[in-house]
Symmetry: D2
């Protein structure tokens, strides 16, 4: 069977939109239709995304119902708070995949506390690796792509939390490359400020991804999982390395923890629990849809430590978006995606 | 038509071998056979090339006739001087593609001056973008993959030299990422020494790629092109940016130079002469087989300036190797390759 | 008063030795005497430490009693396990400052568990910012310079632990530049492997700095503090950013935590508790002896979060060594040191 | 003799102003007075320049006659085109040192061609290493600090040009860190765009530093030196590495070239012609006022190749500014400056 899926991308000049397009260019069933932007509407894509050579001559259009209509799939890669209005105008039959935060949280109060403005709603959550979630996404026409930090933090802790290896009180420190902060020009994101520099931000539970991690992990247990989340900015363009830990419940050996993780993800094509003793590194997943995980226990500190690596733009955003499109359309889940990273 | 090509890679634990494998994993007609190594023989590939997830469980074998025999294609990604002996043992019908320098130079004296030891011979040179060279490579069973610096330097200057826009006396300053220096542990290549650092090396015409650039450009004219080549090491893993210039022959406008370059490469799938005013950057070609070029003239200085960008490991090594394999076997030249880079 | 202190540095070709020398070159009371090395003995310092221009013509000698004798102060910047033997030969009156780990731990069993070999002994611990420790160092003739991770981890947590704001059960995730791993050539420290990469290592309490952090924090309370310590390697040459947390004991506001930290370090010339809302970054302390700290509480997660930044080579090694020398000799503590970093 | 010089810095929140302040904080004869800014006026310096700890509590004032009056020395670190007006208001007796381009060029037409607007005038040029220039600067009350690229390009080529080793037709390719582009937020300078990327810009003689290099070199000979100048942006915060070449005039050996360079700079405290065979690297000069140079000849290409390294913010801007202040005031030229870089 061969089908051609027509796809529009709103926000095509940003990092998330660029990554969706990079992956779609390698997708065998996709025809790339309208490319839209905000302030860049009217410009050629070439100088804005010079790595997307086959699309260099495409001109960006305005983001509106007219330009986005008539496609099978619309990817929204817009600033937070802008997806709701345009999504409401698109037909129910169009598959709309939102790379932003607007539809991720079920708790409207949490949304309003962390993002401000009113909550647009809640869509099926695009993390098929969570138990039962792949079935939810099959055939869905509205999908909220997870945040990059929540993707790796959730997958790093899910087996431990779900299987009761640890107390529901977790600590996540996640070092991220800068592309997660987007392409808008800001002084603190200048190369001069970033290179040779590591910093923490959003400390104390105020980062917007905190309630999303909490929501994900709390789905796995009765009651609420407490999450202490600290994001770090480190000098690289792509990649997140999440170091996650929680107090052990009783005696758990490193071997058992590893076995639990291995079994939990045994059928997942994109989650790789590394052999014992090999730790994840972000370079290995650059450009790929893979998640690399490792787990051990610190007997003296009585904690389980899990470390996960993803490419924040790929599996953390654009890769997940394409994976969700494949699931929504009933295509093979891995079309246009790879588990092979670019290294060194 | 569908064929399955069985391929062996010698030197699978290094950077060049790893890149060949990364690309082969995305090649639809290839079956990856023996993976061999020197001191790493006997080890699993997983910890050595953690980005090559699908091959993680493969064990490296010794590099010898027995392990390499029985494949349609053998890629040699060995230290300079080691390809000759093993290549001589392989059947003439096996397609042997050497990523090293052993068979690149036609001038044995030059080889011995720059590399030491005796010259192994000269194989068809794997730069299909040179005039007439694609035909040479079709059906070839021995191919020498060009050096990374020569690839970008040659392609950046070829139109100007071949069309007589400049005197045959060129200056190339090429800034390279560190992966071109290989994976052997050396103090001056430590991350601590590389980050925050730019340096020149091999200054004064002593770098081994100098005679190769000279050979390539001199094929385009009568007589010998004089080449001043200075390589720089800059803090990035991948990519070469070559800044090339030569004295103008008479009046040449920037527009004419751009038109000459555009026409020269009009049929080349991997060479992109950018629109006037847009300059190449290495990030745009990361992981891809694309070469980005731009040219202008400096009227006051009376020089033509051409700038080219490649990924030294991709089009500069592994991508060229796969492109050559495709040509040698009569496959579509771009199979397993892309013009889309990974950015940011 | 003016005195001239004659100083020898053993291990002058490495990173720690180089940093001690960099700082000594700006110290007004120091005369740099013998420079010794292991395998580099006999070589000129110039090509090995090209940033130390005034010492470029100095030739490295072998590390032994003869070369090191006759100096007022001897800095040992040797691989772990090599300081004990040479230190034992030096006169008691010579001030010996060990930048290595040999004399840091009081617990011989812990030393042997984490470092192997037999424990050389315990010297006064060169962290004058710990309560009462400045007095111990005044006039001392044997001083163990703290490890880089323990310096920042200890100072980041000491006020919270000592003042009982938190349970004695702490989590430290510390992102480090690569210079802390030293100058010996290793594949995983190559620039190609480091750039674009973040990784965890020594996970699960097995890093050698774990018992040292435990020792430091446990001195501040009754009983033992449990420490979960995970070091990360991120793409920068210098700097450590430590993200530290622990469960709050009762209600503690962010304001109170900040006030406790500010008061704890009020007289410390090199520890800067930043104004509330400003978070430490490693770039700000590059090359300086400063430690930047910030603290807050996460009410939802019921944890105190403290973040500290140091230059691992400066305050984390060489700067602390010079600071300790100043204290040992009764010089002004800040001679040759600065709180001003090099940024951007 | 001890004097206290009161100093104001206009543009204290930018990179150039920050570097002037970093150096002044280590200058024994200086008292830092007014700190002024444009859009940041009214803010505390602490969060804007977090590395300048001793000035963290200082509040920025507006840049005007009132705030800058009453100081012995005023440093202007303003955007190009803004120095002229404020400088005209300051008393002739005030030493005014302009880190911008306004007063560098003697040729008003060149200024207007490259910078636009009207030429503000020409001040003594702050490169004391040029023959006779130190005398010009002694006692001067108006000084134009050279551009960063012109500093290293000029010093790298001056001996060869002045001594007639080469034709007056030079090629400069200079790889720079990003801080030279300033602290204003621009998309193409984001960390995500810079890391893993090398690019050329201002190609074809259009960069503003071209006429300044031409002016400097042409002072050394009769007639005009032709300059082909191409700047590159590479992934580091600080440093410029300039690769310079020109056709040899007759037979010149590498030894003779090296001897000429050594003799030319024999009395210069900040210019270090490295021993033959050792090539400059930017890391070695980070934070220092040193210029590292090396020269050789390429006999086959018949060119002299000189390579120079500076820290663009230090000797390339702030260090030169302080050096010029010292000369203007009759202080020891090296006060507050160092030849020792921070590495690794």
């Amino acid at each position: 069977m061969h089908m051609t899926v027509s796809v529009a991308v709103a926000g095509a000049s940003g990092y998330a939109g660029g990554e969706v397009l990079r992956l779609l260019l390698g997708h065998p069933e996709v025809e790339i239709g309208a490319l839209t932007a905000g302030s860049n509407a009217g410009e050629l894509l070439g100088p804005l995304q010079p790595h997307l050579v086959p699309l260099a001559g495409r001109r960006l259009e305005a983001t509106n119902l007219e330009t986005l209509s008539g496609h099978d799939v619309v990817f929204l890669a817009l600033p937070h708070g802008q997806s709701g209005e345009i999504a409401a105008q698109l037909p129910d039959s169009t598959v709309v995949i939102d790379c932003g935060a607007d539809f991720r949280l079920a708790d409207a109060a949490a949304w309003e506390q962390f993002y401000g403005g009113s909550h647009a709603g809640t869509w099926p959550y695009g993390l098929p690796e969570l138990p039962g979630q792949r079935e939810v996404l099959a055939g869905a026409t509205r999908i909220a792509v997870p945040g990059c930090y929540p993707t790796v933090s959730t997958l790093s802790l899910a087996p431990a939390v779900a299987e009761g290896l640890v107390d529901p009180d977790v600590v996540v420190v996640a070092a991220s490359g800068t592309s997660g902060a987007g392409k808008a020009a800001k002084t603190h994101l200048l190369g001069s400020e970033i290179m040779g520099n590591a910093s923490a931000y959003g400390v104390g539970g105020v980062h917007r991804h905190t309630p999303e991690i909490t929501q994900n992990l709390s789905r796995l247990v009765e009651g609420t999982v407490r999450v202490s989340f600290t994001p770090l900015l480190v000098p690289m363009s792509r990649g997140i390395l999440a170091t996650c830990s929680a107090a052990l419940r009783g005696d758990v050996s490193a071997e058992r923890a590893h076995a639990v993780y291995t079994r939990f993800y045994v059928d997942e094509p994109f989650v790789h629990v590394l052999p014992e003793g090999q730790w994840p590194q972000t370079q290995s997943v650059t450009g790929s849809n893979a998640v690399h995980l490792q787990v051990t226990v610190d007997a003296a500190a009585r904690r389980l430590i899990a470390v996960g690596a993803v490419d924040n733009l790929a599996k953390g955003t654009g890769g997940a978006a394409v994976q969700c499109m494949n699931l929504a359309l009933g295509l093979s889940e891995g079309l246009g995606l790879t588990t092979v990273g670019i290294a060194p």
